[in-house]
Symmetry: C2
């Protein structure tokens, strides 16, 4: 059974696989290069290879096809390499100076398409909408479990964004605690009794220079303290703590924005690796005040160096005002 251990220097938790260990040759990287682990052209996420994954938890299927067989459009399974299990209760173990707990949680993979090589930024608006709908449904299923305190939705596109498989997929991780790194939102509310993201929207609309696009339900912008070059946030105008409460109208809007923005971003940045993450409120704790869900898009153009790993101080060579200007110009030419 894997465990979460507290890093006393940094305050955060680390998931440690205590049963099995990867051997040095199992890692995809060497000093200057990286490769996908499945080099023999076999992909467990392709249609027809359902037997090579864990059983599906949910799927969108045509023609009454059976679970774990071909005929699906989207398929959600358990991440079989993850140590998280949503079984039993949280057990915090104090071992003199150290603290650990069991890996209570759930880690799911959403295989977004049966077709290998068709990527999220190639999808139609409608297809993006069905992926978002699946993410919303899985979020809400997991959020109902009282043991789940936070849900992280994320997508790794490309090896240099941390993907281990090329086939287009997203992931959902349900955790037994709110990660430390997101406490700033709650701290801001504690100090100001105002929602940080609502205040950011108000401030940015006044300034204008970091805004890429405004539409009915969302504002797209490069954040004031962008950690990564061309980092972009998509913030819903409506104050709403949980991604799971996204409305149908918002979901359609978000699909259109992602459809247009990702095409612009991928073309302008020369097909980069990227992450998409949805930051949402703590669950089942009574501490959601001041949280407001939003989506971050992070092109991975630089590798974190020793200074970023250690200090958490990022060095970003592209000011968000410049990044927003570049994207704004290109987005204005897109049909929307």
């Amino acid at each position: 059974m894997p465990e979460l251990r507290q890093d006393l220097v940094r305050g955060n938790w680390v998931l440690i696989a205590t049963d099995t260990a990867l051997k040095p040759r199992d890692f995809p990287m060497h000093k200057n290069g990286v490769k996908f682990s499945s080099t023999n052209n076999f992909c467990p996420f392709c249609e027809g290879n359902e037997a090579y994954t864990t059983s599906e938890l949910a799927s969108l299927r045509e023609n009454g096809s059976l679970p774990d067989s071909p005929g699906w459009l989207i398929r959600t399974i358990t991440n079989k390499y993850s140590g998280f299990r949503l079984e039993g209760e949280l057990r915090i173990i104090e071992d003199r100076i150290y603290q650990s707990c069991n890996g209570l949680g759930q880690h799911e993979v959403i295989i977004e398409t049966p077709e290998h090589g068709v990527e999220f930024h190639h999808f139609s608006r409608e297809k993006i909408g069905t992926v978002l709908q699946m993410l919303k449904e899985r979020y809400n299923v997991l959020a109902r479990d009282e043991r789940v305190k936070y849900i992280q939705i994320y997508k790794n596109r490309g090896l240099l964004a941390g993907a281990s498989l090329e086939h287009s997929h997203s992931q959902i991780l349900a955790l037994p605690m709110l990660p430390n790194s997101l406490r700033g939102i709650g701290d801001y509310y504690g100090k100001n009794r105002r929602c940080l993201l609502c205040d950011v929207l108000e401030e940015e609309k006044k300034e204008g220079k970091r805004i890429i696009k405004e539409e009915e339900n969302f504002v797209v912008l490069c954040p004031y303290a962008s950690r990564f070059p061309y980092e972009t946030w998509i913030i819903p105008r409506r104050h709403n703590a949980h991604f799971g409460d996204i409305s149908q109208g918002e979901l359609i809007s978000l699909s259109s924005i992602l459809f247009a923005f990702l095409r612009v971003m991928v073309a302008y940045l020369n097909d980069p690796a990227y992450n998409m993450v949805i930051i949402s409120a703590p669950l089942n704790t009574g501490d959601a005040a001041g949280y407001h869900w939003y989506l971050e898009i992070i092109p991975r153009l630089l590798i974190n160096s020793g200074v970023e790993i250690t200090t958490g101080i990022y060095m970003n060579p592209v000011a968000p005002e410049i990044a927003a200007h570049m994207f704004r110009e290109r987005m204005s030419k897109e049909p929307f």
Copy 2:
């Protein structure tokens, strides 16, 4: 003039280059690959190319050769791409909800050898000692400036450790504040009135299973909450806040340990990219109580994914007990 901006979601600071911006084509990465920026075989760090760098701040030279000319063994220059300048005072600017400050600090590069392709883990014990001596001297010069509140020493080896040049070098970054991510050490002292690293040493010596090597002045171990596979810490036995106060005996010991350990690590992990960082105490603040300098070695075998970037919760597939066992066996066969 570049600026540091506070990230309100995460609490940390980000250095933003506000003058110039890298163009998408200037970045070394694409979706699955990465390359060094100097592809035309010209290296500004090689002997004879001194005119292509900033003027040297310090050097170790033979034969009375002149500054910024050939004849050096180690050479320290300003990082010319960095925005940090140790000029004037810290100016904190409040702009409604946002906070920024000027990039007050100094960023130096230590070119460790005139020979391209000879890496830190190829150096003799004596050569490693002269690099550590230079790092100590530069640390102490910068620490005397009252405006400097923290100094981060770090080394990026390989593109996948964030290096932009291949030629062996280390860096020193003097900052106007203590990074948030290191506050855990001070918090531990505030709560327990004990040094975290002294307590870690005591605890680990009792347990033994995460220790790689013990010698007179240092203990080498894989930390309890290792964020990265095969993460290794070298901790001085003597409680001492600042790396700049390392004794001559400790410096010689540390050179021998690095000489032996890095050869074992590089061979066992198949020539990985890696970072070395020295974590030391806050400076010129009166808040150094409970800090105890130590060195971290981080092989970069995995790329951080969306979940690590967002939540700060690392997933480590190699338990530190297993990593320590592998290294301990191999270190026991090394002449020491």
